[in-house]
C-alpha cells in the first residue's frame, strides 16, 4: 500500500522511516498545509472527505505509475480526512531514490496527479460564516467548466497550501 488516509495528524517521522533504504541516496518530501486565504476569502478551517475505497486504489495506481516513470526506490502518500485547522498538514508525499533528480520529479508527479484524480473533496469554511465545496460550487454556476483539468480553467483553485519541499542527504 503506497497511498493511505489518516484521521489524525500525519506522522511524518515514521512515514519518512518507511522510505529509508541503504540503496537510496536522496529523499524528497512535500507537505500541503491548510492556508488562511483562498480566492480572496478568509478561510478558518477545512473539512476533507474521501471515497476511500476507490481513492486508495487510485492513489496506489498513481504511486505505481510514478515508480514506473522515474527510477525511484520507495514512494508513499498520506492524505488527511476530517476537520483541519489552519496550518494543519493535509497531505504528505515522500520519495527516496538513488539520486535527487528523480525523487523531485516523482514527488511532483504524485502530488499533481493526486490533486486531479483521487476522489477527495474539501469544504472550506470562511470567516464570513459561509462555506463551500472547492471546485464544485463555482462549477455548478458554470456547467461548461469541466473538472478534468481544473488547473487550466481556474489556476487559483489548484493550489491552496503553502507548499514546502524538504530535502535531505542530497548527493
Amino acid at each position: 500500500m503506497h497511498f493511505r488516509f489518516t484521521e489524525r495528524a500525519i506522522d511524518t517521522e515514521s512515514a519518512r522511516r518507511e522510505l529509508q533504504t541503504s540503496s537510496a541516496g536522496g529523499y524528497v518530501s512535500f507537505e500541503g498545509w491548510v492556508r488562511d486565504l483562498n480566492e480572496g476569502q478568509e478561510v478558518t478551517r477545512l473539512e476533507y472527505e474521501a471515497f476511500q475505497e476507490l481513492a486508495v486504489k487510485e492513489g496506489d495506481r498513481i504511486v505505481a505509475e510514478a515508480r514506473r516513470r522515474f527510477p525511484v526506490k520507495l514512494a508513499l502518500c498520506i492524505h488527511r480526512v476530517g476537520s483541519l485547522e489552519l496550518g494543519d498538514m493535509a497531505v504528505w508525499v515522500g520519495v527516496s531514490s538513488v539520486h535527487r533528480g528523480e525523487a523531485f520529479d516523482a514527488c511532483r508527479f504524485i502530488i499533481d496527479e493526486v490533486k486531479h484524480r483521487v476522489p477527495i473533496w474539501k469544504k472550506e469554511h470562511y470567516r464570513s460564516g459561509d462555506s463551500g465545496w472547492v471546485n464544485c460550487e463555482r462549477c455548478a454556476a458554470a456547467p461548461q467548466h469541466s473538472h478534468m483539468e481544473p488547473e487550466h480553467a481556474e489556476p487559483e483553485l489548484a493550489e491552496r497550501h503553502h507548499d514546502r519541499v524538504a530535502v535531505s542527504n542530497p548527493k
Binding site: 472527505e49 475505497e53 486504489k57 476522489p119 473533496w121 456547467p143
Partner: protein, 259 residues
C-alpha cells in the same frame, strides 16, 4: 386493439401518466395533445393540455396545434403507446439534437424509416408542415422522409416498440413488471448535502449510470451537470453507458479537490 392505448396500465399506472412523467424528467413543460372531444377524458384531464386547433386527422393535428400554441419552441413529441421508452433513450435523443434540421428522430428498428412520434420537432418545421398538409399530406413520417430529419440509431432496439395487440400488451406487462433493479447509491461532498443522505438503496428502471443520474438529479435537484462528474460502479471508475446489474454500488464523483 380496441382500447385507448394511453389508458393501458403498467405497474398500476396509465401509459399516459408514465409518458408524462418520463418527459417531465427531460423537458421544461409537458402537455397532453387532445382532440376537442377528449378534454374531459379522465385519463387526460389531470394534465396540462393542448387541444387540437388545426383541422387534421391523426398526430399531425397535435404537432401543428403545438406549434400554433407556442410557435417559438421546439417540441419533443412522444406517442402514448411506447411502454418500453426509457430515460436513456430520451437522454440520447436530446443530447444529439440537431437544431438545424426540421427534426431529430430515431430510425425505426423495423424499416429504417424515421419515427416521428419520439422525435424533436424544431419550430422551423412549422411552416413547411402546414404547406405539406395543405398539399394533401397527412403522415408525419412521410413528411420527415421528404424534408429530411437528423436520424439516430436506437441504442436499445426495443425502446420504441409499441403495443397494438392484447398479446403485445401482455408481453409488455410481463417484461415491465419484473421487479425494478435494486441498486446501492453512495453520495459524497456537495452531492451528499444536496441529496440529504450519504447512501441509499433504491429501485430503478434506469439501466445505465447516465439514466440513473438523470433520475436522481430530477429527484434531488443536483446542481452539477453530468459532464462535471465521473461515476464509479462497485468501487471502480466506470463508463456512463455501462449496463447496470442488480446490487451494483454506484457513486457519482463530483469535481475532486484533494491535496
Amino acid at each position: 386493439m380496441n382500447r385507448d392505448k394511453a389508458a393501458l396500465k403498467y405497474h398500476g399506472k396509465t401509459q399516459l401518466d408514465r409518458a408524462y412523467e418520463l418527459a417531465s424528467r427531460h423537458v421544461a413543460n409537458v402537455f397532453v395533445s387532445v382532440r376537442a372531444d377528449q378534454t374531459l377524458d379522465p385519463t387526460r384531464a389531470q394534465r396540462p393540455m393542448i387541444v387540437d386547433s388545426v383541422a387534421a386527422e391523426g398526430p399531425i393535428a397535435g404537432i401543428r396545434s403545438a406549434f400554433a400554441a407556442h410557435p417559438k419552441v421546439a417540441w419533443l413529441v412522444l406517442a402514448c403507446d411506447l411502454p418500453y421508452l426509457s430515460d436513456d433513450a430520451l437522454d440520447y435523443l436530446l443530447r444529439r439534437r440537431d437544431a438545424a434540421a426540421f427534426a431529430t428522430a430515431y430510425r425505426s428498428a423495423h424499416d429504417g424509416l424515421p419515427e416521428p412520434l419520439c422525435a424533436i420537432w424544431e419550430s422551423s418545421a412549422a411552416e413547411t408542415l402546414a404547406d405539406y398538409q395543405a398539399g394533401g399530406g397527412h403522415c408525419p413520417r412521410k413528411f420527415l422522409i421528404r424534408h429530411g430529419a437528423r436520424l439516430l440509431e436506437l441504442q436499445d432496439t426495443r425502446a420504441l416498440e409499441n403495443v397494438n395487440t392484447p398479446e403485445e400488451y401482455r408481453q409488455a406487462i410481463a417484461t415491465l413488471d419484473k421487479a425494478p433493479m435494486q441498486l446501492k447509491i453512495q453520495y459524497y461532498a456537495l452531492m451528499r448535502e444536496q441529496a440529504g443522505r450519504s447512501e441509499e438503496t433504491l429501485e430503478t428502471s434506469a439501466s445505465t449510470p447516465a439514466g440513473l443520474y438523470q433520475e436522481l438529479a430530477a429527484r434531488y435537484g443536483f446542481t452539477l451537470s453530468r459532464d462535471q462528474l465521473k461515476v464509479a460502479v462497485n468501487s471502480e471508475f466506470s463508463d456512463w453507458s455501462r449496463k447496470l446489474n442488480v446490487g451494483d454500488a454506484v457513486v457519482f464523483i463530483p469535481p475532486v479537490a484533494g491535496g
